[in-house]
């Protein structure tokens, strides 16, 4: 009854490989030592400094503003793109699909360079707006793809049924189609949010004066050699990202049920 040790060892190795660097960062954020290395005792002072650092607060604000607006834009545009892709099948739509799909596979640096050249050509000033537009270009694909997946599973005879029961075309869309595909839109939105939150490459090309986001700030402060607060900052980012992923994982299943209880309350 001797089981092979190999699978277990592989698992441990993988976990160590992926999470040791993260663990080092998190532990480091509580280590009372200026340059890492030895453990010099527990401290929260980096978190304290972080909160008081105006530059970081500004960067955080920029990041959140951009992530919020690009997510919102992508949820609307991506859902519309998915509808168009699903409803009308033609040559042109194949082209459309490739356009939507390409940001998922194109190297990010290419996206960054081309966007930079484009904004240069049209004479736009780099800043928050250009970063926002850049993020929309690639986040859009993720929303469109998740919604398209959900739409492909959608049974359009439900719309016929709703209209048969007296709902106008718009009411049927609002009361039947949207609630059924909502988990897809929300999952796509959360994905877009995390992607926008930690994007570096595209942002780096498109940021101008006063439009530093957190990833850009982290990069530049490492170059300046001040890493003390970065561990704490990274630990926070890590937690936030994990939270978003967990939320997005659970909403998909939860949403179907919450819709039901909401309706039940309305009737009861």
């Amino acid at each position: 009854m001797k089981r092979s040790l190999f699978p277990g060892l592989t698992l441990v190795f993988c976990l160590v490989f992926f999470y040791l660097p993260l663990a080092v960062v998190v532990v480091g954020s509580f280590n009372d030592s200026r340059f890492g290395g030895d453990w010099r005792g527990f401290t929260l002072k980096y978190y304290n400094q972080l909160l008081r650092d105006r530059e970081i607060r500004g960067a955080l604000e920029n990041t959140l503003v951009i992530a919020f607006w690009s997510t919102l834009t992508c949820m609307v545009l991506g859902t519309m793109a998915a509808f168009a892709l699903h409803r009308h099948r033609s040559r042109l739509q194949f082209f459309h699909l490739s356009l939507i799909y390409s940001p998922l596979v194109a190297p990010e640096i290419l996206m960054g360079i081309s966007l930079l050249l484009f904004f240069g050509a049209v004479g736009a000033d780099l800043g928050m707006t250009t970063i926002y537009l850049g993020h929309v270009t690639f986040c859009l694909s993720y929303v469109a793809m998740t919604v398209l997946g959900r739409l492909q599973d959608f049974d359009f005879s439900l719309i016929d049924a709703a209209r048969d029961l007296g709902a106008s075309s718009w009411t049927a869309t609002r009361k039947i189609l949207l609630p059924v595909i909502a988990p897809g839109i929300i999952a796509g939105g959360l994905l877009a949010f995390t992607l926008s939150l930690d994007d570096f490459v595209v942002t780096f090309f498109l940021s101008g004066a006063g439009s530093k986001t957190l990833p850009i700030y982290i990069y530049s402060s490492i170059k300046r050699g001040s890493t003390t607060k970065l561990n704490a900052l990274s630990a926070i980012l890590l937690v936030v990202t994990f939270l978003v992923v967990i939320i997005s994982h659970f909403t998909a299943g939860r949403l179907d049920r919450s819709e039901k209880t909401k309706e039940a309350k309305a009737s009861g």
Binding site: D160, R163, D164, L165, G166, E263, S267
Partner: protein, 392 residues
């Protein structure tokens, strides 16, 4: 009111496919009207035209004296039970049924009362708060019916509502559907490809074939007096013969059938000596005996050998070889085992049938033959896949 729902010259083509090709029908108030036909004959398309999901390229739909052809689905006083039920997955049973009432902005008290009445009528009260995915096929079907009926439509459209259920459940639901119809008294327009289903539930049946209505009538009319051989073959089991008129004697004529002999048949249509005749003879109209029946001028008599026997419980089905033909014969047991000797395989038997029981028809086309999936009737008359009298 005789003309409650009327289809007038409806045409709808999908490119080259003539889905509905000039259909005119009238449905009476309160009746169960079935559209019956093989797959692809345009039943669903006609139903969708009635519901408003499809705009006919030609023709009008008139409901209760009002032309509804141009109305969108939500403005029509008809409701549909969809083939796949199309229940809303994000709502529970109660909310599915309440959907139409909520759209109509009925008061909360009204909604509750009406939905509870439908739940009660369909025996779904205990499942009111279940999610759609938690329901069985039969339960889903009942929710679909309740959801449609709660709006008190003038016509209820049902598109093969039982097709997704297994045989036992189908029979039970059919009975329930029938008693439900008696209870609510709403006009049903019922689409099915199952002739047994149509026969047992309908007041009127329209048999459709390739976009056209072949015949409209009561189940008995359609069965006893099919207007085309397509109808005869689609509704139940039958034997077909091809013959030539040899002699005309008043209402009857003597028809020579190659490989069988001469038979006397009632003239269902105008005939000329030498004209071709296609004849249908239902298996239960043939009388099978061991002893030679007394000769009568009104009866056709022939002798054959039993080739196959299938015991059906209430009846026995025989295939008897007579000349070039293999005739299907149904025989109900009455005095089985008493004064009748059982008939065995390879026994020689007598077949007799009344001259009025043969029925003259148009021969169906080659294309129809495919739809009916009949064997070549020139040489043999085999049992058909569709079975006329064994629907339970």
């Amino acid at each position: 009111m005789t003309h409650f729902l009327e289809f007038a010259g409806i045409k709808h083509y999908f490119g080259a496919v003539k889905a509905v090709d000039g259909v005119s029908l009238t449905v009476k108030q309160g009746e169960v009207f079935s559209l019956l036909g093989p797959s692809g004959c345009g039943k669903t398309t006609l139903l969708r035209i009635c519901a408003g999901f499809q705009h006919p390229q030609e023709g009008r739909v008139i409901l209760n004296g009002v032309d509804i052809t141009e109305l969108p689905p939500e403005k029509r006083k008809v409701n549909t039970v969809f083939q796949n039920y199309a229940l809303f997955p994000h709502l529970d049973v109660f909310e599915n049924i309440a959907f139409g009432l909520r759209i109509a902005k009925r008061s909360a008290v009204d909604v509750r009362q009406e939905v509870e009445r439908m739940l009660d009528l369909t025996d779904m009260t205990e499942h009111a708060r279940k999610r759609v995915v938690e329901l069985s096929g039969g339960q889903k079907q009942r929710v679909a019916i309740a959801r449609a009926l709660v709006n008190r439509p003038q016509v209820l459209l049902l598109d093969e509502p039982l097709a997704a259920l297994d045989l036992k459940l189908r029979q039970r639901m059919l009975v329930q559907l029938d008693s439900l119809h008696d209870e609510v008294g709403i006009t049903f327009l019922y689409v099915t490809h199952d002739q047994g289903e149509a026969m047992s539930i309908s007041d009127t049946i329209a048999v459709m074939n390739r976009g056209k209505v072949e015949q409209t009538g009561s189940p008995a009319e359609i069965y006893e007096a099919p207007r085309s051989s397509f109808v005869a073959a689609f509704i139940g089991d039958t034997n077909f013969f091809d013959g030539v008129v040899k002699e005309i004697d008043g209402d009857y004529s003597l028809v020579a059938i190659e490989g069988l002999g001469a038979v006397r048949v009632f003239n269902d249509k105008q005939l000329k000596v030498g004209g071709a005749v296609h004849l249908s003879l239902r298996p239960e109209k043939i009388h099978l005996t061991v002893a030679e029946p007394p000769a009568e001028s009104s009866r056709n008599i022939s002798r054959g050998e039993v080739e196959e026997i299938i015991y059906l419980g209430s009846a026995t089905k025989y295939w008897v070889r007579v000349g070039d033909y293999r005739l299907a014969v149904n025989r109900v047991h009455r005095r089985f085992g008493l004064d009748e000797k059982p008939i065995r395989w390879k026994d020689l038997v007598w077949l007799s049938w009344h001259s009025d029981d043969g029925y003259m028809l148009e021969r169906y086309s080659e294309a129809d033959e495919e739809l009916l999936s009949l064997p070549d009737t020139e040489t043999e008359t085999e049992p058909l896949a569709v079975d006329g009298d064994s629907h339970e």
